[in-house]
């Protein structure tokens, strides 16, 4: 005997057309989720924005320029005229900080972007092609990763000489290998999915599969790598400048300022401390933002 089951009488029947279409979630949703889940990342983003604004508006924010010497006011402590004091050449430290932030941010973003694009391109090709192509690219990446990156950067900078373009080149060369490895493993996962299979069945050619199917699915990973590469680049530049291999005086860079301030650490500690604090702040901000993005973009990764 089959028991009669009671059905609710006037239940709404849902048809495919009835359901409410949710808004396509895009950039805004990601930001909203970031704001909801991770306050630290939002604060970090604000700090980064502040630094960017300061860098852009540098000439408006200060009456001095970063190269103006004033030998009557050498090494003066913070005062209303010079908020962060002056250095050994009588140059206003706040001004040099502002102009230095242009260098630091550029050095953070440009080489990270270049190495991300290069690494992603090589990683996707490597993962998709497999075989010999894969082996060649990956051994090259291994070579880059096995070599101490700071040493490599120093050698390149020493050979090419200081200057912004050379720093860009050096940092891009140092960082692509890590990106390539991660993107390759991501590619290996993606090309096994059924939607790539479906694309093949539709007759999509290899290049289009890489560009239209693999690349867009790698972007969350690439974005996180990019954000985490920025502070690494800033730190490397600071180290190079500190060692005298990066930006050359009288141009300003935070690493360089830490280096020149070193001699006056006891008599005028603000010379080194202020740029050091700025480096720390921006590096931490980028790291927190990167972690926050990683949490939001990867639904399987729990924050904490």
């Amino acid at each position: 005997m089959i028991k009669k089951r009671a059905f609710p009488e006037k239940e709404k029947v849902f048809r495919p057309g009835d359901e409410q279409l949710p808004e396509p979630d895009g950039f805004r949703t990601v930001l909203r989720r970031l704001a909801g889940e991770n306050k630290l990342a939002v604060v970090s983003a604000a700090v980064i924005l502040l630094f960017v604004l300061a860098a852009v508006l540098a000439p408006v924010l200060t009456p001095y320029t970063e190269k103006d010497m004033d030998l009557r006011h050498r090494l003066s402590p913070p005062s209303p005229e010079h908020l962060f004091g002056t250095d050994e050449g009588g140059r206003d430290i706040l001004t040099r900080m502002l102009f230095g932030s242009r260098v630091s941010l550029l050095i953070g973003v440009v080489p990270s972007l270049v190495s991300m694009l290069l690494g992603a391109a090589l990683g996707i090709v490597s993962g998709y092609a497999g075989g010999k192509t894969d082996a060649v690219i990956m051994r090259l990446a291994d070579l880059m990763l096995a070599f101490p990156s700071m040493l490599l950067a120093m050698v390149i900078m020493y050979t090419l000489g200081g200057g912004l373009m050379n720093i860009f080149l050096t940092l891009s060369l140092v960082n692509w290998a890590g990106v390539a490895r991660v993107v390759r493993s991501e590619t290996l996962r993606i090309i096994k999915t059924e939607y790539v299979e479906a694309a093949r069945i539709t007759g999509v050619a290899g290049i289009r599969i890489m560009l239209c199917h693999v690349l867009p699915n790698c972007i969350p990973t690439m974005l996180v790598l990019f954000t985490l590469n920025i502070p690494a680049s800033i730190l490397t530049e600071s180290s190079l400048s500190f060692l005298g291999l990066g930006i050359q005086p009288p141009d300003a860079s935070w690493g360089l300022m830490v280096n020149t301030g070193r001699q006056f650490l006891y008599s005028a500690p603000w010379l080194s401390l202020i740029p050091s604090a700025a480096i720390m702040a921006i590096v931490l901000a980028f790291n927190f933002l990167g972690d926050g993005l990683a949490d939001v973009l990867d639904p399987y990764r729990k924050n904490q």
């Binding site: 057309g17 396509p24 939607y195 539709t202 007759g203 289009r208 199917h213 867009p216 972007i219």
Partner: protein
């Protein structure tokens, strides 16, 4: 009637440490124009491998060892990659069992449906969009225009499967391979999708339906091939097969089907599992599990024998029984 697909003596396999594992062994089958042909068998018996061989998408290091695959008279085995790619999507197409993972999560549905047109034909963006809306409407996606702007995660499973079918059908291929198209769907949606496939075939498309669901096969197919351990073991018209199943494996499959009117409480099963491809029995692949096994069965592989009515079977005891 023209045969859209003719597979002749196809062998495909992949190398293992213990030698080449032959997953598809001497398989021959035909799909005529406007007919639905079923390919039945347990998991791991070579159904999907056969489909992949036809599409030319066997995963490395697997390969077609020998045999021939004719699509509308054109030989696919050994055809240059580029030519084959031109046929995929336009002349032959395939849909998968997993509608949840078969769509690119970061691409709008409309674009995915259009992709085939953009690749195979030179048309304007508006024309491509118009045709994708048209095909989506045809496969029963309501408000197709609006859905085109959705991402796959915003659609239900049934809708996604329809989108998959629309992707496969947009250029009107002659051959459609459906690899368990309804396994992941609930029964009501399943019925709708099956109806849709029936409509497609009446339009002249040849469909190769791969399934282990005999209910679906009985409803939909004109002709059925039963596959076991890489070989076709029985081939017959759908009514003939269900009325007079000759191979013990086919009978086992039929007995394992739940019936609404059926008596027994316990579902019949076939004991054991499909043999490992590298450790195939010397004789009939089914012999270790076969209730009607005789001495000859374990000696060598029986051939496919015509038992009348175009009913082919690869089984010695079955031949003997009929002769009596």
């Amino acid at each position: 009637m023209r045969n859209i697909l003719e597979v002749r003596h196809l062998c495909a396999g992949f190398p293992t440490l213990k030698g080449e594992a032959v997953a598809v062994n001497d398989v021959s089958l035909t799909v005529p124009e406007g007919k639905i042909v079923g390919l039945v068998g347990e998991s791991g018996c070579g159904k999907s491998m056969t489909a992949r061989a036809v599409m030319g998408l066997i995963r490395y290091p697997g390969r077609v060892i020998s045999g021939s695959i004719l699509l509308d008279g054109r030989e696919l085995v050994g055809m240059p990659k580029k030519e084959k790619r031109a046929l995929r999507g336009s002349e032959m197409s395939m849909i998968f069992q997993e509608p949840m993972t078969s769509l690119n999560p970061v691409m709008k549905v409309g674009r995915q449906v259009e992709e085939a047109i953009r690749i195979h034909e030179k048309v304007t963006a508006e024309e491509a969009a118009r045709r994708s809306v048209e095909i989506l409407t045809k496969v029963g996606v309501p408000e197709a225009k609006k859905r085109c702007l959705c991402y796959p995660h915003q659609l239900s499973g049934g809708l996604r499967q329809r989108v998959m079918i629309a992707m496969a059908m947009i250029l009107g291929p002659r051959l459609l391979i459906a690899d368990e198209p309804t396994t992941a769907l609930d029964v009501t949606v399943e019925a709708q999708i099956l109806q849709l496939m029936r409509t497609l075939s009446s339009g002249g498309t040849g469909i190769l339906l791969i399934s282990h669901d005999l209910g679906v096969i009985a409803q939909l197919c004109d002709h059925v091939y039963v596959m076991y351990a890489g070989r076709i073991v029985e081939s017959a018209d759908v009514n003939e097969l269900f009325d007079r199943p000759l191979h013990p494996y086919t009978r086992g499959l039929l007995n394992s089907v739940r019936s609404l009117r059926g008596g027994g409480d316990v579902l019949d099963t076939i004991p054991g599992a499909v043999p490992n491809l590298t450790r195939m029995p010397a004789g009939c692949g089914f012999s270790p599990r076969c209730p009607e096994r005789c001495d000859e069965c374990v000696m060598d592989v029986p051939g496919l024998v015509d038992m009348g009515n175009g009913h082919l079977v690869r089984c010695r005891p079955a031949e003997g029984e009929e002769a009596k």
